[in-house]
Amino acid sequence: MGVPFEALLPFGIIIGCFGAGGYGLMAVKNWTNEGKRARWSRDLWDRVMMERDLRITGTMRGQSSNHEAPPGFELSNPWKLEKRIF
């Protein structure tokens, strides 16, 4: 008594759907991180440094090892403004 092929169809659907979701997420994550692995567990220092990277290179994950910043970088530091509560 072989297993009828209809019994295996749901497994194909399950594997296909999980595969599409997983690989799709992987592709989107890679795309948003410009082909690199995502940064995770970032603390305040990491976030501030990534914002500085953005101001130097112009892209979210771009890196540069120049010893001198591009012109105008020293005047691009943003101050966060916050309304006083008290």
Binding site: K36, R37, R39, W40, S41, L44, D46, M49, M50, R52, D53, I56, T57, R61, G62, Q63, S64, S65, N66, H67, E68, A69, P70, F73, E74, L75, S76, N77, P78, W79, K80, L81, E82, K83
Partner: protein
């Protein structure tokens, strides 16, 4: 850091007023986070005197350190830039390999020991700077040759 980080800021202010003309110009460092982290121990090795001087000045100036320690701060910037420039000149391939590895592995040093050893050897040969971990219990202890917990199998 005595300043509280803003949590609910709606807008940012970019102050484009340039520095006064009487303050000598120093270019800011253009290296981003991963190259800076990769070069950090070498910057510390060459610039420790300047860095300590700057921190001492800040501690002794009663909260006016941003204005009164500009001279010391300029020395810190110039020294760090000189280290990065030297590493770029003499050890570019090892340096690039290491910081690209760091950037790909969430800036975790233990994932990139192989590239780090090559970079350390090159920098020590060419520039005489070496990685020392400040405040380590045993500073003479060599770096681990491979990492047991590393997920980056290419670097083990």
């Amino acid at each position: 850091m005595s300043r509280r980080e803003p949590q609910f800021n709606q807008q940012v202010l970019v102050d484009t007023t340039p520095m006064p003309a009487d303050i000598p110009k120093v270019a800011e460092i253009g290296a981003t986070s991963a190259p800076l982290y990769s070069a950090a121990y070498f910057i510390g090795d060459r610039c420790q005197a300047y860095n300590d001087d700057f921190m001492k000045c800040k501690a002794e100036s009663n909260g006016r350190g941003e204005l009164e320690c500009l001279k010391e701060g300029r020395k810190v910037t110039r020294c760090a830039a000189s280290v990065i420039k030297d590493i770029n000149t003499h050890c570019l391939s090892q340096f690039t390999a290491h910081w690209e590895c760091l950037e790909n592995w969430n800036h975790r040093l233990w994932e990139c020991r192989k590239a780090e050893k090559e970079l350390n050897a090159c920098v020590f040969d060419k520039l005489g700077l070496q990685k020392r971990i400040p405040g380590a219990v045993d500073e003479k202890k060599p770096l681990p040759t491979h990492s047991v917990y590393s997920a980056n199998y290419k670097q083990c």
